[in-house]
Symmetry: D3
Subunit: 281 residues, 6 copies
Amino acid sequence: MLPPLPDLVLEPIVRLALAEDLGRAGDVTSDAVIAPDARGRFAVRARQAGVIAGLDAAGLSAWFVDPDMQIEAQIGDGVRVEQSGTVLEIEGLARSILTAERTMLNFIGRLSGVATLSRTYVDAIAGTGAEIAATRKTTPGLRALEKRAVVLGGARPHRYGLDDAILIKDNHIAAAGSVSIALQRAQASLGHMMVIEVEVDSLAQLEEALPFAPHAILLDNFSLKDLAAAVRLGKGHAILEASGGVNLQTVRAIAETGVDMISVGALTHSAPALDVGLDAL
Amino acid sequence: MLPPLPDLVLEPIVRLALAEDLGRAGDVTSDAVIAPDARGRFAVRARQAGVIAGLDAAGLSAWFVDPDMQIEAQIGDGVRVEQSGTVLEIEGLARSILTAERTMLNFIGRLSGVATLSRTYVDAIAGTGAEIAATRKTTPGLRALEKRAVVLGGARPHRYGLDDAILIKDNHIAAAGSVSIALQRAQASLGHMMVIEVEVDSLAQLEEALPFAPHAILLDNFSLKDLAAAVRLGKGHAILEASGGVNLQTVRAIAETGVDMISVGALTHSAPALDVGLDAL
Amino acid sequence: MLPPLPDLVLEPIVRLALAEDLGRAGDVTSDAVIAPDARGRFAVRARQAGVIAGLDAAGLSAWFVDPDMQIEAQIGDGVRVEQSGTVLEIEGLARSILTAERTMLNFIGRLSGVATLSRTYVDAIAGTGAEIAATRKTTPGLRALEKRAVVLGGARPHRYGLDDAILIKDNHIAAAGSVSIALQRAQASLGHMMVIEVEVDSLAQLEEALPFAPHAILLDNFSLKDLAAAVRLGKGHAILEASGGVNLQTVRAIAETGVDMISVGALTHSAPALDVGLDAL
Amino acid sequence: MLPPLPDLVLEPIVRLALAEDLGRAGDVTSDAVIAPDARGRFAVRARQAGVIAGLDAAGLSAWFVDPDMQIEAQIGDGVRVEQSGTVLEIEGLARSILTAERTMLNFIGRLSGVATLSRTYVDAIAGTGAEIAATRKTTPGLRALEKRAVVLGGARPHRYGLDDAILIKDNHIAAAGSVSIALQRAQASLGHMMVIEVEVDSLAQLEEALPFAPHAILLDNFSLKDLAAAVRLGKGHAILEASGGVNLQTVRAIAETGVDMISVGALTHSAPALDVGLDAL
Amino acid sequence: MLPPLPDLVLEPIVRLALAEDLGRAGDVTSDAVIAPDARGRFAVRARQAGVIAGLDAAGLSAWFVDPDMQIEAQIGDGVRVEQSGTVLEIEGLARSILTAERTMLNFIGRLSGVATLSRTYVDAIAGTGAEIAATRKTTPGLRALEKRAVVLGGARPHRYGLDDAILIKDNHIAAAGSVSIALQRAQASLGHMMVIEVEVDSLAQLEEALPFAPHAILLDNFSLKDLAAAVRLGKGHAILEASGGVNLQTVRAIAETGVDMISVGALTHSAPALDVGLDAL
Amino acid sequence: MLPPLPDLVLEPIVRLALAEDLGRAGDVTSDAVIAPDARGRFAVRARQAGVIAGLDAAGLSAWFVDPDMQIEAQIGDGVRVEQSGTVLEIEGLARSILTAERTMLNFIGRLSGVATLSRTYVDAIAGTGAEIAATRKTTPGLRALEKRAVVLGGARPHRYGLDDAILIKDNHIAAAGSVSIALQRAQASLGHMMVIEVEVDSLAQLEEALPFAPHAILLDNFSLKDLAAAVRLGKGHAILEASGGVNLQTVRAIAETGVDMISVGALTHSAPALDVGLDAL
């Protein structure tokens, strides 16, 4: 079971989200309309089916608004919820719950959207032996949360940032002069706990890269035919990752070429939110 | 012309976005592969048509990475770009540009996605006299940036947070006991520069609300027939805002009922990113 | 009952206040002189009568120093305390209480000073139908806290910042060219949940403004005679707010002209602190 | 000439002050009403005579809003300005200047108020040989700025926080058991660069304290007669500081008793702001 | 007993230390390998003898990772631990404990190293009447923690920063022109709770300084013979502090010259860490 | 050439270091003693030979104090300086330079100490084919800076945090039950860009680990004889890393067993600072 992110990782974005909603005066509506001691019991329910994520950020949001709110998750992160299914229940001061509502729902909606789309892609290639991976095309400020949502949906996180692996892309190769020069320079500076992936745009570049034994090779915008050729050349020598032009219509055919990984930017940059709402109980 | 957001408003989310990408060691690939004094000229180009937003956040991101990068916007925020159109050009150290690339593109892609979807909705109701508005269903940490993107797309921002207007929703009414009680309490606590909107679920609630002369009334999940009836009852007495079940198939018919505003959560919670990329020049 | 500000709103200024008092080594006196396990019971008492405010910030200050201190408010925020009256009682480690003392008293003293002066102005115009409002002339860093203290004293908060309403002032009018141009531009950019106030310096400007039906009009430095004329022209068409030259000698006569609001910068920029001290029990 | 505070010391409170004014959307009025390229020249003028302080914080505020604003101080910090005198001139984009205006004026107004009141007290005891000192009764978040304003007004800053000197007060003495015990404990823990002051409430306590040769002795709420007696006992053996019941009516008589210092909480907790405004040039 | 530092003083460096270890994804090893509900009991043990410090920072580190971890100190800060001695015991979720382990050990190891070296120097001059003091040559970000570790080792903290005492060094004297001018300027600006120390490089400079009665005089790089001469000239008139060329071989002879203080940069800039480790119980 | 760390990575610790030195009042000595417009030219010189590091943090420190200071590095990061060699020259306001001096020197001294000790270890095993690596036993807050200093000294950085590679240590194995179970769990959760290292305490554990083909194996506290046996078993199948009991006396013999890496905690936890000072020119 994937553990929640540490609170210290979540805290900056949770604080930012609450601060932008509370502004200078807080929830003026609840303060005006609801008695200070009125209590309530509410459920966060899914208005559509999907895979849940973001309970950790939602829970921390609630804690910052009022540490006395009681939250019971009815379903774990990474679990599929059906339409109208209950995600969690909250009990506490009505003012506190309504103040925290939107921030909690925004985290759950967005991150469950990412987990749900990830699961859809993973299911689309079931049985092929390939895996789906995310990219660094994440929402500013939500990198760690969206990577975790991707994993909750059954896909792989890929690099978390510019610093945890070397990924030589087309512009790096252009700046270095060639795939070979770029790989040589990268290997010379590599720490022993870090790996190298190199992006290639053609079978020729792939053949140039293979003798350097990079950990992984990104086959960018290859045709299905070229992907198959690349698999024949490189499978087992490096992790072969396909990217470019991937969508739900194309992904299975790509997986069936025998590549190891397929990376999909849309998992994080274009996942529609899962529709979730708060109902009084 | 809508001015950029102040740097102080942008800075927290820009810092967070860069920090999560730079990690502890920065861009290990560019540092390994590219000569320290190599310079480059690159263009950010749109891979699909849309309305541009996020140039302010992208520019501040670049500045934090290297204040000596030169950025020339080729197209302003809020302007439509065609497929393959150039959004901006960057000149500077190749290492700096490639380090900043992903963060810049993530801001432009997401916020242009919001502006583009907003524009699509606005265009869909052209001539009806109604306006499109966003909601508080925004991405955590990006509230101000997404609201501005909505405005760049021609729509209205609605409330920025819980503190800048009173919006009495169904759960508030339930907690207060009735629409009337909620409105009375709200009016008693209202500052003279703040307005009240109340959400109603039925024509009966609308009739209960109108005598209190709220600034605006949110007609939630009304049928087209009930919206038309609501317009007959309330038009001119309060700003009438429709919400619920709004999508590109339904929005024009809703607008044609005569409501003043239509609020659409999807503008911010489910806008696909505009596809933008960095090309060497 | 006005609720306390959310802790997230208070936290930045409370942290700053404690940090500047604790410095690098903390309370060297209490640490040197008082036994580590010595406990004490103390009262915060008012040395003069007034209206109490700031208990939320004082409580959070205490919590940051030592979450085990027990604080019992003897009197609520917004309530009048008589001379020698007890505001709150604290029980806990003597070192902790003396470490937190000054920060707590500084918050209560200043904010109660604001609430007390606000109440004095409100009482001075009792029965006239006018209301007292604060301005943005607040202490840097204390905007939200001082606005709340104003409300606790019975007055109105006015704008919280530059972003929550449009207030067109003399310099804006000069830059735009005229009251009319400024109002036209403002109305064209206005969100549907935001209101416009315009400052006028003469009856002629008032007459120029009225046809635009602004939400409120600020009559700046008008004579009593001109205020009365302004009331005849504009009452009921816009909220009429007087400002300039307001003090406790002049405020009632201004209110009796029939204006709706009187804004007073001194509420926040020149309120003397309420004298409060800590006594051992 | 007293130098400005380092920007790193000013920055937290300046950021807080700007953030609370800019909110999420910035200066909506200037953005709506003023052309983006309109430039202006403005003067900050004193509406009443006083001693200027806060130019450093005002300048940093302007820099954060727009680093291209040009500011020319016409008068230095610590210098007396006459009524209608110009404090500084600003040239730049009109939008930027009006956005920064209120924060700049709030810093200058408050801190000049502190400097002016300090100067008034210093002048009131001219020729007596005594000095005026501030206390830790400062505005939360403004400790360093107000201490500097006090010095600009000719008075002494006293302790900056709990950590830079030992000051044994009545509650410490009560907790320790006696003046002697408290002084012994303090001396045992003292670093060689730190000094001790002890508060005494009676001549008896003064006599108990003197043999320990503390650096300074705070004579709290002594009558003029007892102050004179204290001076006879202690002058030259320790710095003698009077406090309690000090106001502009009583301060000279207190000074004439021969004490070395007179500390006045009102310098920082109850100084009315100096009235300053922004005029177009 | 020296109390722990306030949490607010520790928090910035503790947050920084945890954030740099947790990165974006937290402790991927413990999350992968250890069951989520597995509990453990561990001891932090000293692998070599020394004086313990840093328990406050270690405890706060643990709290941030998981507030439910139970920590029992077996030995207090400032107490000598023998080789293999247990410093503290921790009970809680195994994942939490292993996540916090390295940060806790890094604080305890480094700060105990400082305390231990301080104690070694103090012991080396036992009986001479002199004292050992630290300098401002501390680890960036750890000033307050290392000063406290020095005190736990029996030495004196000296200045905490540039702002809590005047210390006129050689470069200041050069800039001012002479020892006399520098001292005159310093005395003119001195607050009554702050002291002056002046560095002198020769007996001639010492003789120039003594008439100004500075609180302390730093005898920098004096020979033993000159130190003895300085003591004859200045002992009792100012605190005499020796610095320069101090190590464990030379310190006793220096102390025996009769100086009051000996300051040693190595206490904080070159103390080897005390070897501490975590053992399962 | 290793590039400097990004300013955004350095900024938190540089701000913390300056803030703790400037306190609330800044450099009271320089402000009192040095004329505001006095300029100076100074050199940072090494008092002993070593390898320089920390110029990036020192430069950023200077920039925060006064962006107009001119700094010219005379020697690059990673380059050996001889005794009395000049590291950099600074020109600017004398006050600014002396204010920044200590923070700059503290960064350079500590980080050059780390680089110098790293170089010493690297030199000690020259020609053996083994490499020296650091650990996570770094100074709290300085992880990224010390890792870079290690690399500047010619050694390898190893993991930057808990999140960038899996390192299964003895306590993980105990919690999991066996080396095999721990490795199976780790492999099941592994992202495709992350590697696994496992710590073994005996040849038996090594033999248990090898079939899982981990990226690296940490041979902890092996005798030289067992290291040699481990090399025979595992060389070429996994990176073999020795740790435990490594010092300058033992390191070469360890390297000569044929291991690939030797990790040394002392590089960062016990490196004495390189002695550097500021001289007027």
